[in-house]
């Protein structure tokens, strides 16, 4: 049986809840209109259609759109060897949907990861904790409004305070430093960065006096500024 036929059986069972099957590169995608009914659809796919293996659950952040989040479920059957993709959407205000742990136990860690990275809550999940980041971390890093360079926080015991690690923070090389200690992030002592900034500003001033215009490294933001 092909994936398309299996998808049509789901469509026949649930009617308007399921969109028409869409095909791209030989893969079938079904949209489930109501995220609340995902466990029901998955349980049907597992018990009746033989999709016994939940490959993966993923979330997508369409920042700026409404509903903001898309959940993607990949199912596979060891009997018929077909993949099927289910998609559903969740709005930012709600940020919640029912868990799949009652259908497949492997959903446990996938859902914890989505909670950790995207901040979506799974109702009924037995152990909804962060999994890759640590307990108490204040952000959801895979959201599109979380910058790649990281974000400073106001909880010094738990996460970075200002500046963020790659936005001028302790991992960034300071070009033009007078020696390796001043340049290299690995040997630098963060407390001395303010001194380095002053030295840099003085050097910039010297250059301006000598050449009539300043070039070379500009001032870096003071460390304690948010």
């Amino acid at each position: 049986m092909t994936a398309l036929q299996l998808a049509q059986q789901i469509k026949a069972q649930f009617g308007d809840l399921i969109s028409e099957p869409a095909e791209f590169r030989g893969e079938i995608t079904l949209w489930v209109q109501d995220a609340e009914r995902i466990p029901e659809v998955c349980a049907f796919a597992k018990t009746t259609l033989g999709f016994d293996y939940l490959v993966d659950i993923t979330s997508i952040d369409d920042y700026g759109d409404d509903p903001r989040f898309t959940l993607v479920y990949h199912l596979y059957g060891y009997g018929h060897l077909q993949y099927l993709r289910l998609k559903t959407q969740v709005s930012e205000e709600k940020s919640e949907l029912p868990t799949l742990t009652g259908v497949w136990r492997t959903a446990n860690w996938h859902e914890r990861e989505i909670y950790d990275m995207m901040g979506l809550r799974f109702r009924g999940h037995p152990d909804l904790r962060r999994i890759l980041m640590w307990e108490g971390y204040p952000y959801f890093p895979l959201r599109k409004d979380f910058p790649l360079a990281g974000k400073s926080s106001d909880v010094p015991e738990i996460a970075f305070t200002s500046p963020a690690p790659l936005a001028g923070g302790p991992f960034v090389t300071i070009a033009g430093g007078k020696d390796a200690v001043a340049r290299e992030p690995r040997v630098r002592i963060p407390q001395t960065d303010a001194l380095e900034t002053n030295a840099r500003l003085a050097r910039r001033k010297d250059i301006k006096e000598a050449h009539g215009r300043a070039y070379g490294p500009g001032p870096i933001e003071p460390r304690n500024k948010p």
């Binding site: 590169r25 060891y78 060897l81 446990n108 890759l132 980041m133």
Partner: protein, 434 residues
Amino acid sequence: MSAVAPEGSSEQREVQFRDAAGRAAETAQALAESPPPGEEGAELNGEKMVLNMGPSHPATHGVLRIVLELDGEIITRAVPEVGYLHRGDEKIAENMTYTQFIPYTDRLDYLAPLANNVAYALAVEKLLGIDRQLPARCQFIRVICCELARVSSHLLGLGSFGMDVGALTVFLHTFTEREKIYNLCESLTGARFTTSYTRIGGLSRDLPPGWVEQCRKFLHEVIVNIDETETLLTRNRIFVDRTQGIGVISKADAIDYGLSGPNLRGSGVEHDLRKTQPYLVYDQLDFDVPVGSAGDCYDRYLLRIEEMRQSVKILHQCLDKLPGGPVNVPDGKIVLPPKDRVLTRMEELIHHFINVTQGVNAPPGDIYFGHENPKGELGFYIHSKGGGTPHRLKIRAPSFVNLSILSQLLPGHMVSDIVAILGSFDFVMGECDR
């Protein structure tokens, strides 16, 4: 699908074992019946103890932490904690072109970087719709890469497994052979570990002169090494006692927890993506997929030994059949054009410029590609909104999913069984934590 039962599967075994839960109950009963006299006895029969294993422990092969609740030596509860090696690879992928992400795939399963490179390239090529148009030579070389990575990964996995349960010789023995694979990798890609060998639509370079002969020589040597490794472990009394009947995963549990690769097949599920969803030229090659029957640590060990033999068989066939011709698709919009043409022709110069600055122009759409990596099903899900950068790239890491069964599997075992179970799982934290 053809399958062979590995030698020494449960039917043939003479050693009878009790299941772990039964043994746990017996031990607990024995403890209760004979409490030692005095105050020490009260301590032994007292509260449960919480033991923290890892994140820095030699048997966790990386930075896995397991919080154990113990009743004497019996585990009553186990909570695995992962994430110590999290680098945000998926976030990084959203901020660079498809080609720029290739070096990051080296660092997923860092014991099989070549296989990761191939898996990622195939996923992007599936999105572009060119995965069936790759030149034959490219496909054969990619299969060679995957199978070399499998042998290398299994050699290390078995070596450290043996070392964890007390057989140090195996580790040194398999590492000798693994070193030769790294020498092959170095002459092939220029790097021993961080290979970054594939490109979207091809390879970074063709095979260097004399490489095929070097590889053939290695294959003749490694098969001897595999046989010797077997003589060190397969009938080793200590190894057998520590692995048979330990960490038994039923077929239903293995499927329910989404296990993949040798850990799934060890439990008797006959599934290998190279056979069921054939990619590259695997459908033209003759090999068997070994399947276990008991689902214990010993079966997973036997399975990896047999998988290496099958990989060597595949490698021989690939080297024999290796066709000539180009290794890249002839499309300047996907692969960088040759440098001499870039420097002399306008069109190639534009292709080069666009390819480097904006990346390959992918169509909008979603694809999932699952690849049979040494550790299991390494999947890439790419959600593209068009252009040279993925809107979302999800890495379905086999080690992450495989480890999720630990909290269910460990209770009932002794503390010393953990090292055998973890060794037989053969996971990599670089891939688990991404």
